[in-house]
């Protein structure tokens, strides 16, 4: 392309059509400068980096199928009588919202598919966000400089849950109406403002005639706009920080190794969108979800047994069910602890703990460096154990959320399940924490074992004295390096905490707490061997091999370990 800003007119050679278009755009938008750096941007490869992609693409599927649904859905609570194609509902009075949902399911071709794809994609969106978050947590990818992105992710999960709740409330069927009724009960229990909030949200006394239209605007405009903006920020920060990577030969804190954005990463990620889309279509086509025509229109005097919210409400639902009755009356006012604690205190506590964890960890370690290499879960035993404890709690509350269904399916006493859970939520997560932490530490020991003494070959050596021992062989250099590519943990000691001038930090309560936490988090961890230890172990191994050398012809152990080329090697030398 020729630049025509010069003094003499540019002489254009005939550029290709593509170049002409690119030139036209660049002269107005200056795209080349931005694209120069990013077209070949490096993305490291690992299966676990795909989890966030599932969340991103299922959100795109949600946008596409959601737009389709808005073309027919009527967010109105006006009462109509149904005379449509679904026989069982004919003649019933229902809201326009419910009628239009049934119409989308039975009269709009592909409507049921889109509805089910939308609901399944919502499940996938939330599930993949949770699993992605667990991946980031377990590998320490939230550490500096990515704390802000971690917080954005936490807010995205909260918004996703709200989006899910407003979404499944829209059809105004019996189940979603029951969900709204429970939401109203929770809102009313809010101290001081409860009944006012309820009347303002529902436009009067529950259920009023406004809630569907209000949830609709939240569901299709406010929340998606927020989610979209936060996803954009999440991705911009991802590009700016460059993706984390697993340590390995040639992969350090200072570089990022992987495939370039164009063409490989773009093809893989872009192709993956179609796979997620296709998968949602399969689920929408083959697996019934939320058959509202079976539940019927909402009637505040009716309810079905086994009423369940969508799974991501499980924590609040389970906690509500197992909470013992507790209510106090102070100065003529009601504090309904049996609602406030499970639905507001516990859920907010979980969210806040999640958001604050990176800052807590950074404070305890006092680590101000940037971290771009991921940690294996075993190398952060306390963190891993904490997450497993939280997952255990989540699972127990899920059981609580389905206690009626479990009682029926397994023929158990509902009250026994509830009592078991009331106690178990305090005990089992603690057990899970201890077991996981010990497990991680023993895996760390195993890593050191392999580094120092090599891997087990499966070859049993018989010594001249008749003793038997398994032969160990060193692992290859790259693997050994990968195992040692991690930081040594240091336990914070307030005594040695001096500033640049050698002035000791004041013995404050916070520094004592920090020391205590640091001991709890890091004191039991196994550190990688030092160079001297490795040297000595290898020396020892060589000595051992020399002793075994005379016996060495039968098999050196490499033939069967699946890690070495064996072509042309012979098990026994020919005699």
């Amino acid at each position: 392309m020729a630049n025509s800003n010069g003094k003499s007119p540019a002489t254009a050679s005939k550029p290709s059509r593509g170049a002409r278009v690119a030139g036209w755009a660049d002269e107005r938008l200056g795209l080349a400068t931005a694209a120069k750096k990013n077209l070949r941007k490096v993305f490291p490869d690992h299966w676990s980096f795909m989890l966030g992609e599932i969340a991103l693409w299922s959100f795109v599927v949600l946008l596409l199928t959601g737009v389709f649904l808005t073309l027919w859905f009527r967010p109105s609570m006006a009462e109509v009588q149904y005379f449509g194609t679904y026989e069982q509902l004919r003649g019933l009075h229902m809201s326009e919202a419910f009628k239009s949902t049934v119409d989308i399911s039975f009269d709009v071709r592909g409507g049921l598919l889109m509805r089910q794809m939308h609901h399944w994609a919502a499940m996938l969106f939330l599930a993949s966000m949770f699993v992605h978050m667990m991946r980031v947590f377990l590998t320490g990818a939230f550490r500096k400089p990515r704390e802000v992105n971690w917080v954005i992710g936490c807010v995205l999960i909260l918004l996703g849950i709200l989006e899910g709740f407003t979404g499944y409330s829209l059809p105004d069927d019996l189940l979603s109406g029951t969900g709204l009724r429970i939401a109203d009960g929770i809102v009313k229990a809010t101290p001081v403002l409860g009944s006012y909030m309820s009347f303002f949200i529902f436009g009067g006394e529950f259920p009023g005639d406004a809630i569907i239209a209000r949830f609709y605007v939240a569901h299709i405009l406010l929340l998606p706009a927020l989610i979209l903006a936060l996803i954009a920020a999440h991705m911009l920060l991802l590009v700016y920080h460059k993706h984390t990577q697993w340590p390995g030969p040639g992969r350090t804190e200072e570089n990022v190794v992987g495939y370039p954005m164009l063409p490989v990463y773009m093809a893989k990620a872009g192709g993956f969108f179609f796979i997620v889309f296709g998968w949602c279509a399969f689920m929408g086509g083959l697996m019934t979800i939320n058959p509202v025509w079976k539940y019927g229109p909402y009637d505040p005097t009716k309810v079905t047994a086994g009423s369940q919210p969508d799974w991501y409400m499980g924590v609040a639902e389970g906690a509500s069910r197992i909470m013992p009755p507790l209510e106090t009356y102070w100065f003529n006012n009601t504090w309904t602890w049996s609602i406030v604690i499970p639905t507001m205190v516990i859920t907010m506590l979980m969210l806040v703990t999640m958001i604050l964890w990176p800052f807590l960890e950074a404070w305890v370690t006092g680590d101000k460096r940037e971290h771009h290499l991921l940690q294996r879960p075993r190398n952060a035993p306390t963190r891993t154990a904490f997450l497993v404890a939280m997952m255990t709690l989540y699972g127990l509350l899920w059981i609580g959320g389905g206690n009626d269904v479990l009682a029926v399916v397994f023929n158990l006493n509902l009250n026994h399940i509830t009592w078991f859970l009331r106690i178990a939520v305090f005990i089992i997560p603690v057990i899970a924490f201890i077991v996981t932490k010990r497990w991680c530490i023993s895996l760390q020991r195993h890593d050191n074992e392999v580094l120092l003494h090599g891997y087990e070959t499966g070859i049993i050596m018989r010594s001249a004295e008749g003793g038997h021992a398994e032969r160990h062989l060193p692992i290859d250099e790259g693997k050994a390096y990968t195992l040692t590519a991690r930081d040594r943990d240091e336990v914070y000691d307030p005594e040695s905490d001096t500033d640049a001038n050698g002035v000791a930090a004041p013995d404050s309560r916070s520094s004592r707490l920090r020391a205590k936490l640091s001991r709890a988090m890091f004191a039991d961890n196994v550190q990688k061997p030092t160079a001297a230890e490795l040297e000595e172990a290898h020396h020892h191994a060589e000595h051992e091999h020399e002793l075994e050398a005379g016996l060495d012809h039968a098999a050196d152990g490499h033939q069967f370990d699946g890690r070495h080329e064996v072509e042309g090697e012979e098990l026994r030398p020919k005699h």
Binding site: G250, A281, G366, D497
Partner: protein, 359 residues
């Protein structure tokens, strides 16, 4: 806090062996493999095209009421066709990337997320200059009045939301029930005689006026004459959401005295709205005379003032005192003596029974 990590006591035990050697793929060195991969990728794209066409064919040929293995045939066909159309594009592109696109890993240097020291200084200088030129520090009157104006500007935005809903007033405390309101079956709308109920039977009921069907012995004029309030639309639904009741008949000898006093020959009337979160309670255990809420499993003993026997509910289920009126039908002796439904801030009292009965 100091940085403890500046000088690690022990050096890295193993030196970085550097990026491993690149291995060529079969498709990089074998022309045949390359051609085969090329054909595979194109095949996936062609399969996607076929699936897209199949979607259109299914859309126009399958009748909406056709079923396939108990599922809607149209839904299954459209879902599979759309799924394959998308999936094959994805598989094709990824196969292309894995087999044919360059697979040399490249390395890029990272840079600290922080801006350079000069940039920071320049930014701070620009900021300082800008603030200086605005004079905001030197003119506190302007600054303070601006802050005041901005703070107050938010108020109209909040005040504007006032009409989201009416104030609660006393609405949560009252239901449509009053002395003499007849109890009717919630489906048929028929008046109920004591003889209509067997021992152990539970009937879902409503106050007269809330059920669309009327008892055959009455008509709208008669209702009006008797002063029965008839509601419609969302007012009806809101009223039903708190006035719904259940009638049960239990052997009088099983009842506690207070409960028996408010009933009629063992027939009792309770609010159907759970005192926990407001679900309509529905599950009746006839042998134990317990009523279980399907939402959070609060369990109430209907033989004894509706007290909570299990679950998260904190208050007894409100009982409605009933009698038999002059015509022999069940009717309320009075309205509910306490607000029905879940707790709220202003409710300010435990269950009606709490202070009246020694435990």
């Amino acid at each position: 806090m100091t940085n403890n990590h500046d000088n690690l006591p022990v050096a890295e035990p193993i030196a970085d062996p550097g990026h491993p050697e690149h291995h060529w793929r079969p498709t990089d060195v074998d022309d045949k493999a390359e051609k085969r991969a090329e054909r595979q990728v194109s095949t996936f794209f062609v399969l996607s095209m076929i699936s897209a066409v199949a979607f259109c064919v299914a859309y126009f040929t399958i009748e909406p009421e056709d079923t396939f293995m108990g599922l809607g045939a149209m839904n299954v066909a459209l879902g599979l066709a759309l799924g394959f159309a998308m999936l094959f594009i994805g598989i094709g592109v990824i196969q292309w990337a894995r087999k044919l696109m360059g697979d040399q890993e490249i390395s890029e240097l990272r840079h600290s997320a922080a801006s350079s020291e000069e940039d920071r200084e320049a930014t701070l200088a620009a900021l300082a200059q800008g603030l200086e030129e605005s004079g905001i520090a030197r003119r506190p009157m302007i600054r303070n009045t601006l802050l005041g104006a901005l703070a107050l500007a938010g108020v109209p935005l909040i005040v504007g939301l006032r009409d989201l809903g009416p104030l609660p007033g006393k609405k949560l405390e009252k239901t449509i029930w009053r002395a003499g309101t007849r109890i009717v079956n919630d489906v048929t709308g028929r008046w109920i005689r004591p003889s209509d109920l067997e021992v152990g039977q539970l009937v879902n009921a409503e106050p007269e006026g809330l059920v669309e069907n009327l008892d055959p012995r009455t008509n709208p004029e008669d209702l009006e004459a008797r002063g029965v309030e008839v509601l419609h639309g969302h007012e009806l639904i809101a009223e039903k959401a708190k006035s719904a009741v259940i009638l049960v008949r239990i052997e009088p000898k099983d009842l506690s005295e207070a409960t028996d006093n408010w009933g009629h020959e063992g027939i009792l009337c309770y609010s159907k709205i759970c005192t926990h979160m407001g679900c309509p309670i529905a599950l009746w255990e006839q042998q134990t005379h317990h009523l279980l809420c399907p939402c959070h499993q609060s369990t109430f003993d209907l033989a004894d003032k509706g007290r909570v026997v299990f679950g998260p509910a904190t208050r007894a289920l409100p009982q409605l005192p009933i009698e038999v009126d002059r015509d022999g039908f069940l009717a309320a002796r009075s309205g509910f003596l306490e607000p029905v439904g879940p707790s709220y801030w202003e409710r300010n009292a435990p269950s009606y029974w709490k202070d009246r009965e020694p435990k």
